[in-house]
């Protein structure tokens, strides 16, 4: 029903339909979600930087015909420095951020556990997910993996453009029931019974309404009730009462026998299933590199985040800083080939800032070594993704993940978090319009 981006028309269309849907959705859903209805970039930066970090996300393909399948896989970590104003993920659901059900979700798993029910998740732990999507509505759709957290709303993963080709009318989602029925397509299943039953009762209702409405109505009846000489016995006659009584009996009989017939036709039914799934997080991997943020600035005119960090390698292999991930933006250190190799060709380009991550000293940390380095993530994405509005947030602590690689290419992940101090002016006269600086 909603989407979280404004980039192309299919997403815009859904924003419009979300506006329409707000009129339709009950108050229960309206209240917690209304604040998030205007796109992923409108989610506050602290929400995007310090909740669910998605990584290793892969799409098996990004173009399918109607009824074709896309498998989305990846991992996510729930950041330990969770915003204080958000409830903990006591109930979470692996969602699918799409502009309406343009793809049908046929399967989804968190760590191999079916994700048809909600589950509790733990902070500072990693989870693997898999979602199988089936093409349904032709078009170009922006689709995100996401985690819905009760009270915190949707937490979005990276969005990718998926193309569905063919004819919508060819779509089918068949299933066999445990009681033996074969359902050709869930989209239309049961509708014959719905139309028959609704139609029947509307017809009976119309008979009842017409029975009364065919007579002179408002003023004549009002006068007959209020003025001397009005004949009330003509307003409601004994035939009317008899007809009403007959209708009453017929209604009760139709409902009763309809209910009986339904029970005979479908003797085995189950109530809605509302249990909670139990999902164990992936085994805990100790942080090989401890990260302490000494200072961090966001340079407003230069659109760059600069951090001075002290790194301590407590492992037995070397560690080289390859990537800084925050808000689904992957700042990759171009000097580290293992990090560059992790970029999937299907990965959305807009989530890979071209300048990547600049590290003052990219040499690997030896086991036991401690080193203080400056890192810089400079990109217009800070503005276009509205991450720089962190300076307007009541909670301006930033967060993200740092990916380190050892000499064998093995990866370890460290959390990084610290307060962010904005720098509004700088000695080189750089501005947002003139990021290179020089005489203005």
């Amino acid at each position: 029903m909603r989407t979280f981006c404004f980039r192309k028309s299919s997403c815009v269309r859904v924003i419009l339909s979300a506006a329409a849907a707000i009129m339709q959705i009950g108050i229960l859903t309206l209240v917690p979600d209304a604040a998030l209805a205007h796109g992923e970039r409108n989610q506050e930066p602290f929400l995007r930087m310090r909740t669910a970090h998605f990584y290793d996300v892969k799409w098996s393909t990004n173009e399918i015909p109607v009824n074709g399948e896309i498998v989305v896989t990846g991992k996510f970590r729930l950041f330990p420095i969770w915003p204080v104003n958000l409830p903990l993920p006591e109930a979470a659901f692996l969602g699918n951020g799409t502009p309406g059900p343009v793809l049908a979700r046929t399967e989804s798993y968190i760590n191999g556990v079916p994700a048809i029910q909600s589950t509790k998740l733990e902070l500072n732990r990693d989870y693997e997910f898999k979602t199988v999507l089936k093409g349904r509505v032709p078009g170009h759709h922006h689709v995100h993996p996401m985690i819905n957290v009760m009270g915190a709303g949707p937490l979005l993963g990276p969005g990718n453009w998926l193309t569905v080709t063919g004819n919508e009318s060819d779509f089918k989602l068949p299933i066999k029931t445990l009681s033996g029925e074969t359902i050709d397509n869930l989209e239309t299943w049961g509708l014959g019974r719905v139309f028959f039953w609704h139609g029947l009762w509307v017809a009976i209702a119309i008979v009842w309404l017409v029975w009364w409405l065919r007579r002179p109505l408002l003023l004549p009846r009002f006068r007959a009730l209020t003025e001397k000489g009005g004949d009330r016995s003509q307003l409601v006659t004994s035939t009317d009462r008899l007809f009403g009584a007959g209708l009453l009996v017929a209604t009760i009989l139709i409902v009763f026998f309809g209910f009986q017939a339904t029970d005979t036709a479908y003797p085995r039914t189950v109530p809605l299933q509302g249990s909670r799934a139990t999902v164990e997080p992936l085994p805990e991997v100790p942080e090989q590199v401890k990260v302490v943020v000494n200072k961090s600035n966001y340079d407003v005119p230069g659109r760059s985040l600069r951090m001075n960090v002290t790194l301590t390698n407590s492992g037995s292999t070397s560690a080289q800083l390859g990537e800084f991930l925050t808000s689904n933006q992957r700042f990759i250190n171009h000097e580290v080939s293992q990090a560059m190799a992790t970029v999937d060709p299907n990965y959305p380009k807009e989530l890979l800032p071209p300048n990547g991550l600049k590290v003052s000293d990219s040499r690997p940390l030896k086991p036991g070594e401690t080193k203080t380095v400056d890192i810089e993530a400079a990109d217009a994405a800070w503005e276009t993704e509205r991450l720089s509005s962190l300076i307007n947030d009541p909670d301006n602590t930033l967060g993200g993940l740092l990916f380190f690689y050892d000499e064998h290419g093995k990866r370890t992940i460290s959390n990084v978090s610290g307060p962010m101090v904005p720098v509004f002016t700088d000695p080189d006269n750089r501005t947002a319009e003139n990021p290179k600086g020089g005489p203005g």
């Binding site: 959705i25 049908a104 048809i116 299933i175 209702a205 007959a224 409601v236």
Partner: protein
Amino acid sequence: MQGGTSVRLYGLEWLKESARISKVFDLLVAAILFLAVSGAFHLHYMLTAGDWDMWIDWKDRQWWVTLTPIMAITFPAALQYVFWTKFRLPIAATFAVVCLLFGQWINRYFGFHLWSYFPMSEVIPALLIPGALVLDVALLLTGNCLFTAMSGAFAFALLFYPANWFWLAPYRLPVEVMGQLVSVGDYISYAFTRTALPEYIRLIERGTLRTFGGHSAIIASFFSAFVSILMYLAWWHIGMLLARVVTTPNTLKNFMGLTDKDEPAETAQKAIDGTSLQGRFAAVE
């Protein structure tokens, strides 16, 4: 009765021309009322029981069955007061729920299905007509709001679940999905995803009501029926309040030195001073 120029309606004499105009007036009011009740009742109903009514995986045996009749008996009760006491028409409940159903089908088909891609099987509205018919006939036969509440409003809620089961049952067949047992309705809503309405948001029966061998719909129906009696009476009286025509004398006119011809200036002056509240409000029943 003078041959061609007049006609008798319910014992009173009408000019033929007046009777004709009155018929046109009936049609106009009916059309306006149909749209107004469709809109207002729909809005009220969506804000109070909307999610249960919209989604196939919210129509559970506890909350849906309890809340829907309680929230749906409101407009029928208020309109019954007006239709019955002013016009002796026992059709208000049926009229109201037909209006509601009309609004819902329009909204589900155009808004949810065509515009937002949801399959119709996911967004079918509940059916309230059988209960409404019984409510109307109860008023017709008893002619009294208290007896209607105790019989008709009670039946309005009790009939709700069995009357909907006819079309709902196919969506409660068991299926196996990823090695788990769920109902067809659960799977439909899982497959055709709602981005901002995750599973845990659902307010559905998650435990047991610990009696009647697990037939929670029966307990829910009876509970709903008792509350519906109270709800019916409350909204009958809301209908009564809203049907009062209250006028206030135009005091501005008096400030400008004008007075009604047939109203003594003294009374108008009292109204301005606020010394006579009775002079300020005249209720017309």
